[in-house]
Every structure is written in C-alpha cells, then in structure tokens.
Amino acid sequence: MKREKINIELKQLSVGYEQPGEASLEVLKDINFTAAPGEMVALIGSNGIGKSTLLRTIAAFQPALSGDIQISARSLNTLNPREIARIMSFVSTETIRIPNLSVFDLVAYGRFPYTNWIGMLADEDKAIVYEAIEKVGLNELARKPVMQISDGERQRAMIARALAQDTPVIILDEPTAYLDVSNKYEIFHLLQILAGEKKKTIVLSTHDLNIALREVDKLWIVTETGNYQGAPEDAVLQGWLNQMFKNEHIGFDEKEGEFFFRKNFKAKVKVEGEGLPLIWTLRALNRKGYQIVMQAEPDFRIIARENRWILISAEEENEFQTIYQLLTFLG
C-alpha cells in the first residue's frame, strides 16, 4: 500500500470574522480535512453555512480564527503573497467584465507571479498561456474579448488562467453557478481531467450535488452538527448527506444516489409494466406525490405499456396516450 500523499491539510481549523470590540464571529469550527495531489474535492453544505468563508480562508484572503492550514507541507501563515500565488490559484464566482481584454490577456494574468516588474510575457510564458487555453478548448476564441464570450466559455477561460498560474492547488468557489446543465457537466469533467493528468489538487464548492456525487474523488461535508470527509460513496453509506439539510423536505435517496423533495403522499398506487415506460411512469407519479406500493392494497393501479397507459380504479378504467394526459386526468 502506498502511503497517502497530502497537499492540503486543515488542522483544527476555525474560520469566521474578527469583530472589533466583540467576540469574533465563528462560522465553522473543528475542521479537519485533507486533500491529496490528483484529487478533486467538492466542498458541500447548505446555503449560508460558510463554504465561501472556508475557501477564502484557505486561499489566504482572510485569516483563520484558530487552527492551521498546511499547503504542500508548509503552514500558510509562514508564506508571503508571492509564494502563495505560486502554490495556489483561485477562481471566484465574480464575473470578469473588462472591455478590451481578450481571452489571451485574461489567461495571461496567470503568469503574473512569474513575470518581471512590468509584466512582460517571455516566450515561455506565452507557450504556457496557449497550452492552458488549448487545455480548456478555447483555441478558437483566444483573441476574442472576454465581454463577448458566453458564461460557460468565460468560466473555462478563468480555469485556464488558474492553469497558467501553474500551481499544485486550485481553489474554485462555485465554478458551476450560473451555468446551464451541459456546461456544468463540462466544467466538472474538465476539472477532473486536469486533476488526474496534472496531479493537481482541485478544491471546489458547489450546489450541484448530484453532479458532484458522480464526478469528484472526495467530499468535504460541512453541516451544523459536524464535518465529514470521504469518497462520495462513503458519504452515502454513512448517511452524512442526510445531515446536510435542516430542512426536512429535502432528503437523500441512498438507492437512487440523488437528493429529493419529501412530499406528503396523495394516494397509494401500484404500477405494472417493464422497461423505460415503467421507470418514467414511476418517476412521474413520484413527482406528483403518489406513494408507489408493491404489496399493500393500492388506491388504484396503472399499467404502463409503450405509448399506452391504463388507469384502473374501483369505479372505472381509462386509457391514455401520454404520461401528460394520465397526470392531467389524475389532477
């Protein structure tokens, strides 16, 4: 067995805000997380619990209240801004809107910690910038102004900038916020490739839990009652995900591997059928708040066939061509 290499280690970390003349406001405490090279880690937790505060503390934007942050076996406190910039890059949720700035210029910001006092790019720097642009698939757009590219493309450009900074650690605060579903998947996929190929440690916070569960190597979970870390599958088996939300309407379906809304069931229904029509009929009924039963006595039955749904209740029998018609009839 290979001994686990560690790139980020949070020891008894407590984060929050100093308040002059008052006790400091502690947002999260007792954080003991680690991340290894080549790992993509998702920091998850309910809204407002302090994910951004934790990431900002790791990125050295604000001091920790207590505890220690070790990056590449060096305590963050002992590093100056220039040294930190060569170890860790950061991508925030802020949208960059600078007129006259091309994608190349934006990515070239990544070379900032390495260039001379006027920021002149050496040939080597330019090669690194172009490599980063190619990695995120923006070759065609290198000369385009950042104001004229889409949100997904801009987010990829920001990731390319972090790549060009050539740091062993990349921190991203909600990189998939404001993106459409296909772009969300693309960003996760891209980050995973980067983590694997370049052996970088990538830490990101996200609310796209269902995607994160399928794509990341490790979860850092912060909850009101405690903080946990482990593979997404461990998190499921240990029941940590159910602790994330105080809101009792949201639960985690351990079998489906997805979060769902808890609903009060309207009626019991038994569904017969097979294949995809059965699966999606069950989904539709679930969405509408019907309890699916196998053994118990149902209020009504549905037989799902291809393009044909038959509803059988005590009083009547109806046939429908689409699920929509079936649901409309049920009300």
């Binding site: 934007f61 950061f90 006259n100 910001y109 900032f112 790019l121 090669a127």
Partner: protein, 349 residues
Amino acid sequence: MNTLQTNRSRPDALLFIGLGILLVIFFIADLLFGSIIIPVKQVFFAFFPSSATSDSFRTIVLEFRLPKALTAVFTGAALSLSGLQMQTVFRNPLAGPYVLGISAGATLGVALFVLGFSSAFAFGIFSSTGAWSLALVAWAGSFLVMLLILYVSARVNDIMTLLILGILFTSAVTAVVSILQYFSSESMLKAFVIWTMGSLGSVTKSQLMVLAPAILAGTFLAFLKIKDLNAFLLGEDYARSLGVSIKISRVIIFLSTSLMAGTITAFCGPIGFIGIAVPHICRVIFKTANHLVLVPAVILTGSIVMLFSDIVSQLPGMQTTLPINSVTALIGIPVIIWMIVKNRKFVSV
C-alpha cells in the same frame, strides 16, 4: 503563435508616434499664441540669447509662455494619470483624481487662508507673495488629506469604505467653505472664486521647480505599479491570489495620486474633467486594458488635451483669457458625449 502580440504592438507604436507628434505641435502652438501677437520668428529667436529680438518678447516667451506651456503638460499628464489610477483601483468609471478628497483638502486650505485668515491679517501679504502662499496652503491642505488617506487605507480592507470616506470628506469641506464664503467680504470672495476656476498662467518659473519634481515622482511611482494596476482590474481577490500585496500596493498608488493631484491643485486650482475623461479617451483609442500601454497613453493624451485647452482659453488675438476650468469642461464634454453615442461600452473601466 506570437502573432497576437505583434499584431497589437504595431498599431500601438504608430499611435504613440502620432500622439508624440501632436504633443510637439500643440506645445509649439501654445508658445506662439497669446494675448500679444509675437511673430513666429521672434518666438524662436527668444530661446537664443545672442539673437536679435526685443527684451519684452523674450520675457513674454521665456517667463510667461514657456512656464505656462510646461505647466499645461504637467497638469494634463498628472491629472490624467491620477484619474486612470483611481478608476482602476476603485474599478469605477466615474472615479477621478479628486475622488479621495485631495482637491477638497486643497480647497479647504485656500478657503481658510483667503476667506478666514486674510481677513484677520493684512490682505496685502496675500497679494504680494500671493502665488506662493496660495500654493503653500493648498499643498498643506491636500498633504493633510493625503496622510489621512494613507493612514486609513493601510488599515481598512474594503475599498468601498475609502470611496465613501472620500465623498463624505468632500461634502464636509464644501459645507465649511460655504460657511466661510457666507461670512467673507466681496473682494475675498472673488479671490477665492477665481482660484477655484483654475489657472495655468499663475505658475512662475521658480514654482515649476517644485511642481515638476513632484509630478515626476508621482509618475515614477505610477510606472512602478503598472503591473499591480493590471491586477487590480480583476478585483482585489484576484489581485491578492496573483501575489499582489494589496495594502502596500494601494498605499503606493494613493501616494502617487495624492502627490500629483495635490500638487496640481495647489498651483493651478482644482482643474476638473481632464482626469476623468482622458483615461476613457485612451481606452477607446488604444482598445486595451493593459496599463503598460494606458499609463504612457494618458500622459501623452492628457498633455495634448491640456495644451489645447490652454490655447483655446487664451482666445488668440484677444486681451482676455477664459477660466481654464470652463474650457476643459466645454471642450471635453462634447468629446465624451460623442464617444458615449459612438461606443456605448466605453464607460466601464
């Protein structure tokens, strides 16, 4: 793969050469035009002591027009560069050299001196050594504000706090000045109002010896921080993550701006508009966000605009001159309106 860089640098070089030529033309024109018509040949002869030209012509050219033209160059460059720095650091297209409250400090100094103390002391002292004493009190006022800004900016993290403090301070000073104006005599009021209109012509040769080094020092600091200014465009979080020491960098940039804007206000009065407009003009001309290009560009463009304003304010061939502050506004506002209509995006930094 380097086409991108070379494609950019050629038009930039041409534009810089063009601006350089314009600067020389306007500088010469500023020497040629004035309330007294001096033949072109005589103006050139004035620079050579052995040549045959009348002493009065030589005095006018060397003692008045040359210092004034040089002052115009320094003023345009300093205010434009200050404005660029403030727009970038505050990431606000409406920021200008006076956003920190520098001119308010200078105004307070002058107001206290002209409207307050002069009434208690002999007004004669003010008029005999007038130019120097006005500059000194204005400088003292802006210097105090500068110390205050540097003190606060080294301690406050949030840039918006600084912006709000600057605005509040300016409003407070306006209130104090109004009170002083209310209680002062007509002649004192006129002296003060004339100072607020700005003037390039009151700067003497010996004052240039103070003004020039101060502006050069501020410009030097601005050049040192070109790279950090670029980083500030991304916002402070990104700047920090790129390795910029935010507070140190901010203090140096504020020092540069206060030094330049404070000195110009002290010697020439609060000259408006140039500092806000010129950076925008340069962004449109050069189509870049890179301060390595923008810093020299605003220095050249600012100087040219100021020289042009000065030429217009003298109303060539006429005996009177217009207040420079009105001229900069009247020339510049149409330019800005034209640019807004033509290019809607220009207002963002």
